[in-house]
Symmetry: D2
Subunit: 342 residues, 4 copies
Amino acid sequence: MQIGMMGLGRMGANMVRRLLQDGHECVVYDINPASVAALVADGATGSTSVEDFVMKLRKPACAWLMLPAAITGANVDRLAGLMTAGDIIIDGGNSYYHDDVDRAEQLFAKGIDYVDVGTSGGVWGLERGYCLMIGGPEAAVRHLDPIFATLAPGNSEAKEAAGESMRTAQLGYLHCGPSGSGHFVKMVHNGIEYGMMAAYAEGMNILKAANAGNKARDVDAETSPLQTPQYYKFDFDMAAVSEVWRHGSVISSWLLDLTADALQQDPELAAYSGRVSDSGEGRWTLKAAIDTGVPAPVLSSALFQRFNSQGDALYADKLLSAMRFAFGGHHEKPKEPPKTGA
Amino acid sequence: MQIGMMGLGRMGANMVRRLLQDGHECVVYDINPASVAALVADGATGSTSVEDFVMKLRKPACAWLMLPAAITGANVDRLAGLMTAGDIIIDGGNSYYHDDVDRAEQLFAKGIDYVDVGTSGGVWGLERGYCLMIGGPEAAVRHLDPIFATLAPGNSEAKEAAGESMRTAQLGYLHCGPSGSGHFVKMVHNGIEYGMMAAYAEGMNILKAANAGNKARDVDAETSPLQTPQYYKFDFDMAAVSEVWRHGSVISSWLLDLTADALQQDPELAAYSGRVSDSGEGRWTLKAAIDTGVPAPVLSSALFQRFNSQGDALYADKLLSAMRFAFGGHHEKPKEPPKTGA
Amino acid sequence: MQIGMMGLGRMGANMVRRLLQDGHECVVYDINPASVAALVADGATGSTSVEDFVMKLRKPACAWLMLPAAITGANVDRLAGLMTAGDIIIDGGNSYYHDDVDRAEQLFAKGIDYVDVGTSGGVWGLERGYCLMIGGPEAAVRHLDPIFATLAPGNSEAKEAAGESMRTAQLGYLHCGPSGSGHFVKMVHNGIEYGMMAAYAEGMNILKAANAGNKARDVDAETSPLQTPQYYKFDFDMAAVSEVWRHGSVISSWLLDLTADALQQDPELAAYSGRVSDSGEGRWTLKAAIDTGVPAPVLSSALFQRFNSQGDALYADKLLSAMRFAFGGHHEKPKEPPKTGA
Amino acid sequence: MQIGMMGLGRMGANMVRRLLQDGHECVVYDINPASVAALVADGATGSTSVEDFVMKLRKPACAWLMLPAAITGANVDRLAGLMTAGDIIIDGGNSYYHDDVDRAEQLFAKGIDYVDVGTSGGVWGLERGYCLMIGGPEAAVRHLDPIFATLAPGNSEAKEAAGESMRTAQLGYLHCGPSGSGHFVKMVHNGIEYGMMAAYAEGMNILKAANAGNKARDVDAETSPLQTPQYYKFDFDMAAVSEVWRHGSVISSWLLDLTADALQQDPELAAYSGRVSDSGEGRWTLKAAIDTGVPAPVLSSALFQRFNSQGDALYADKLLSAMRFAFGGHHEKPKEPPKTGA
């Protein structure tokens, strides 16, 4: 079927390619003409403006946005101004689901259907397929089924399933509920992702530190002594440990596959400084937990660890040192130059 | 090759079966004669006492213990008393790695090699193979290689690897280092497991609570109001969501496979009361983090959540209510009967 | 000076009494006529309706609201409809500071000044004075200075201070900044309060459990054994410990004073079931931390512990048990009847 | 009465001064003769060797050690070798309570009493008195009562108390139980201290960041946008806020007094780099919580925050960045130079 794609960054461009490969017709637009040209070369229909983009879409027009969250709203409005009742706007980016709920309500008044699609798969999606978490009105979602079926990974081992939800879930896409539900599920997915990543990272860090008993240690009142150095004399091969866990252990996962690969390339991870970004979904997940009174100590710890890595505990840490000096006369130990991890 | 297995519970018995199926000769012992008889029927050589067990092992005798941690020490001592220099004792249970370090040192004096093997795979190991994390002296570990190769999952896609460690890691077993290192790596594996499990559980709990805006809510000074109920009106199909994440998402994993299966059987999980046990490794992982000064907020949160589920926050919670009454005159709200989660 | 007080609950009524005792003139209103009558008996001027209330206030009318957050907004609107330019509305309740920012902007258009006052002191404020955290326009705040000075504790040891802020801070009230800043500071105050309370509660719980080595313990695969029972044979006198800490220790505080008093009345805290409410400020504090990227692991842990006590981890805990059964065949241990803490 | 003090650092020397001022006779020893001389000038009896020190103590000899934990054990042994049955050794340092339990058992065999005293009060103790948490045999503790009474703060408002425990607790010293119990209670005291300090520090950090809406913010895919900048436009006077909380608020405490003082000297805390040491007790508290199955999320978060400040999350953080690159192609943002907190 025909679909329009607006926003041809890494994600958008790869999704178009996956759609073209499966025989769909793609009208594409990006503010960068080179991005458009690249996909035209691959068989897409290019467009030179938002107006041109919408004009090239047959009715009901289906326009998929794959844009940064910050500019999605303005572009939804712009598209909506050019579209007519019965058309469908799909937001496949990382929007806050509150915005979906609000936008869907506004567009409903104009007869335009709004579908929010949480998209997971990253740079691997072109080859591996994208996991799609979909929110919006039933009819619009059903209309887009061929697109979803192509973008999703598919599953040669899918079993007979009782209902439509379970059938498509096995293929890698799911209509989760009304508007906003797709991005809600994707948001929680990312919250879980933060937690899992942190679980691996903390565990690997403990392994890395298991040679503490072999190292010289400052002996001063500001350094807690290692009481039993005899139990910390292990020098682990980080790449091999992460590799062995991939085979038969309880913690095997796709993230572990990637971790093992990264550690095989460089067990010291020297290319990284350890500043870990967060892109919003982890924050929103936590806000949802707070609103609904759900304990989320693991997900919050994972998020705060990233904030820490971004340097944002500094004032708190200074205050702790100031208090220690005030009540105990403890002089702050100088910060060491960043450890190499070696 | 020949191997002795002492302790024929779920794990030990299945490991014997996997070894027999691959042509190894297994001498087995358990205090329960019926457990011995069952494996004799499958082709193992039975024994009627620890003495008989050791006597049936050819030199160098290799005896693998698969016992609860609490009785492993006494049985290692007993075996050692019957063995001679050059023999090998393997502890495949969930021992604390400190005990390994201490035991290996004692047995070294007698010329007996001690090998600690952290074993992951649970009830699936017979079919799927066990992930083996091995600590101990080089020669003994090499001697046991055929046993490890059989127990491990193997890997038809294993690649050419630079060294022996990476070669066996791809097959699912790894010589991690000196005595204790196998159980150390297994301990951290379980710590990570707790963290991953909690990440999924918290996320699914947030999804479950996403219909809070559809529910009546107490209106009193002791209940924090839901400020934006319009954003919490989702009734998610927990089984379908966990299923879709298995296909192409960043959080796909073996634990997620099992979770999806459990939720498909009963999305309300009515068979469970929510008391989550912990078996020691999570605690030890945290102690290692504390000793070596490694931040482990996610792993500790996961452990403490289990303690909470075991009812052990009670006195702390009472004290919080007592303080609230003392400074603010807040009367404690009565505890509700446990929610059904529905 | 003259001030109107609307909302004569525990807090509002006591504040009126403190103001009357210091010679101020108080016009009071509450939907409950008995509450009005009680304060009229103490010397206040009663009113029978919001209209009557506003009419009895001399210009510029100063009306202080001491109402539950949920109904504050509607009453601010109602008052504003009856007031004229130059009048002042003070919200001394526990409103979300976002609402202050929004309300102040709306009222500014009408020329009415809006002042938000975070008020701490609980049931002890009448006698001990209230700590006042104030946000709003400079002139309005200065106009109300005599009221603030009376409500605050005062301080016979206040020192010469460089500026007005430090002068009043020593007396127990502070103009923190523009509209919303008073409730912002109060919100963070409560966030800190949660953290401090939890620190004491966790510590006391550890003391309480220090006799674990004297107790029988289940011996089964689902119970982690106590490795060193010889170090857990202490039966602490909780009341005496909390009392001794009040004298010369680093952790002496007003909360500890109250805690010691509660434990002296009943060290088992039998009157409490351990369901700990939260009233919103802790949640908002955490949202502010999330928005601004500030790590707040302690404040979040304290909040989530309250959610736990409210029973809201249940679905997550069930899922953990379901996973444990799925990979390891672990059968859930039955939940014990709530422990008495004894 | 006569008492010997071994170890004349800041704590030991001040304790001797407090004892001398109250008329006690103090024999003092330190490896640094200048430290001995300084106290001799204040009226103490000096000694030139451990032998000389013990010889100058009348029977039953009472020797109080105030030494770093790392060298306490060796000195206890040395003293014990010079003492006779009926003598008393007091450890007032920050020893691990496990060591007390073990030492007391060894000394009991020789008839020497061992008393462990957790001592809180820091640099303020000389003037303010020390909070003493005491473990050991009843008779020895009673014998030392005059010493404890002098060192403790005392309390002019102490009330009639039912028992001896509550009587002395009001004065600032408490016999907590058998050997080890004094240091156990002190250990938990420090655990609580970490939690309280972190609660203040996190809260103050949130206040500090409340001007985020006034600041320029990177706009890129690796920076989570601030969704509602209009609510983050507060520039708080940190010194004034901490001061106002001291008067009538729920969070007033001695730590807050010190914090307010530090912030008044420099609200930017420029003298500190934010490397926060920990001296062992926080770690031990957590181990006790783990052993006894007590949830301690707040105390652990406070400890791990210190580990973070010491740079020990680095490898974990690098691994997180490596994973993000692996699945999403996210390039790590460069680390900024440390923020000034301004």
